[in-house]
Amino acid sequence: MKNIIEVKSLSKIFPGKITAVNKISFSVKQGEIFGFLGPNGAGKSTTIMMLTTLHLPSSGTAFVSGYEIKKSPRSVRMQFGYVSQDLAVDDRLTGYENLFLQAKYYHIPNQTARERIKILLNLVELEKRAKDLVETYSGGMRKRLDIACGLIHRPKILFLDEPTLGLDIHTRRQIWQYITDLREKQGITIFLTTHYMDEADSLCDRIAIIDHGVIKVLGTPQELKSRLGGDIITLDIALTHVAKIPRLIKLLKTLTNIKQIKTAKTKITIVTLHAESMMADILKIIQKNSIPLEMVMLKTPSLDDVFLNFTGRSLRDEAGNREQAHKARRMLRRIRS
């Protein structure tokens, strides 16, 4: 498949010698959902802002749908829709007015604009509230409106900077649904950033883990997890049958796809790439030899384990801080009205 985004050795150094993004290179294929996963200050937003021509790169370059970001920023801007990390909707205007102005920024003729707004309002389920001031919208509604704004010109690429930050589980699911639908039905390429493991895992075709402005690892969620060795099956043999363990191991080793077998007292741990399909075979062997089992455990490494492995820290600890930071930002905005 064709690469729709090509990033070549892109860097951003802010005044004060803060290296936000450090010589990253990667590419995004047409029609895929590509995710940037990383902790606070990793450089996710900065990367997106360079690709959307909001920040000028300090060095390196990128091509978005064939256009170079520094040489032809205007052509680049026609290619994508951008939904920023903060809720950048105009809360003094109605939902409809927000969408209409956005359409006019893309020079869409009025009649076409009206038709598209109708379709988009329907998509993000806001038809009933379209004539209300955004001030009266909930956080989730605002986000949905913001996403609709990013789609008004039918872009080839949609940049979503933390699309579900601060939303409840129901709204997050809803937004995941829009994202997968957009890809399935319209073939839009989606570039999103997130700090939610589950989001990256279930939504993205490929993920890049970014930390301190550097891409630590890139691949499909499955690939990344298998880099850690694979799934782990643990068998606990009844104490009365410990003697049978060596023979059992010999039998298990005849199975294909087993990467590693270890024993410790009554426990046998098996590392494999395809735990689910292996499980039946393993259990069959055990049954044939009539060995009673105390316990069977299957552990698939999570992206959190991957993250821990490649960055040396857990993303989970960061989550709390982020929610707080986000809340503080929302509060700040309220002061205005």
Binding site: R77, Y82, Q85, R92, E97, L101, Y105, Y106, H107
Partner: protein, 262 residues
């Protein structure tokens, strides 16, 4: 096609700001009432002081109210114009500006659209002042045609002030700083101009400053139109100077806006 897009960009940026303006009821009320207070209060308070032949000689006008009315118009415009930058600071703060910058919207059109919105607001407010002044008995020597010319002057002056405000706002991230800066500019600018007091009554050094103060270039032709009549030398001279300034400042605002980082 390109020109069409550019004009459409200015129009929609301006439209958005005007929609915001029309939804701020309290602000509109305040800006409507403020000039009335200025005219009624100051005009009346000073009437005892100013209704003697000597002062009137200084003022060179039928009454202090006639003298003051153009000053109040210019001052109202000054505040409206200088408020334009607030919109830039807020839009940036709320990331709405970033969202606009990520669209094909012309980056020259954004400051121009915001200035255009300020000019429309300035005109609305000056019309209110004009009506108040008429009701209070100020006579406009040049009539309706004169009022049209007054609005042209107001538009030019407003675009100068809005340009200054936008040029200053582009690198400011918080409101407090912005307001402090605006206060720092307005007070001295107003008091050292010919808007409030006749230049003949000023000490030499102040007279010098007032001569060069941009506000004076807007006040003098307005005062001429209200209290004297069609004095073409004054009108043309001020018009050319204000046009020149307006072009320079508009270019400056666009330059600084485009140079600012997101």
């Amino acid at each position: 096609m390109k020109v069409n897009y550019f004009i459409s960009d200015i129009f929609y940026v301006c439209l958005r700001d005007l929609k915001h303006y029309l939804k701020q009821r309290v602000r509109i009320m305040a800006t409507l009432i403020q000039p009335i207070i200025w005219l009624v209060l100051i005009g009346n308070l000073m009437s005892g002081l100013t209704a003697n032949p000597l002062t009137l000689k200084f003022l060179d006008a039928p009454s202090y109210l006639d003298f003051m009315a153009p000053g109040v118009m210019v001052m109202t415009t000054l505040f409206t114009g200088l408020f334009a930058g607030v919109r830039v600071v807020w839009d940036r703060r709320l990331e709405i500006l970033q969202k606009m910058l990520s669209t094909p919207l012309s980056r020259t059109a954004i400051p121009l659209g915001k200035i255009a919105a300020a000019v429309v607001q300035g005109n609305i407010q000056v019309i209110i002042v004009l009506l108040t002044a008429l009701m209070l008995g100020v006579t406009f020597k040049t009539g309706l045609a004169g009022i049209m010319v007054i609005l042209i002057f107001i538009s030019l002056f407003c675009s100068i002030m809005a340009s200054i405000s936008i040029a200053l706002s582009v690198n400011i991230r918080n409101m407090e700083t912005f307001f402090a800066l605006m206060n720092f500019i307005t007070m001295p600018l107003m008091l050292t101009s010919k808007a409030m007091f006749p230049v003949e009554a000023m000490p030499g050094w102040l007279k010098f400053i007032a001569e060069w103060n941009p506000i004076s270039y807007a006040v003098i032709p307005l005062r001429t139109l209200v209290t004297k009549g069609w004095d073409w030398t004054v009108i043309w001279q001020s018009l050319i100077i204000l046009c020149f300034f307006a072009l320079c400042f508009l270019a400056g605002a666009v330059f600084f806006f485009k140079r600012a980082r997101a």
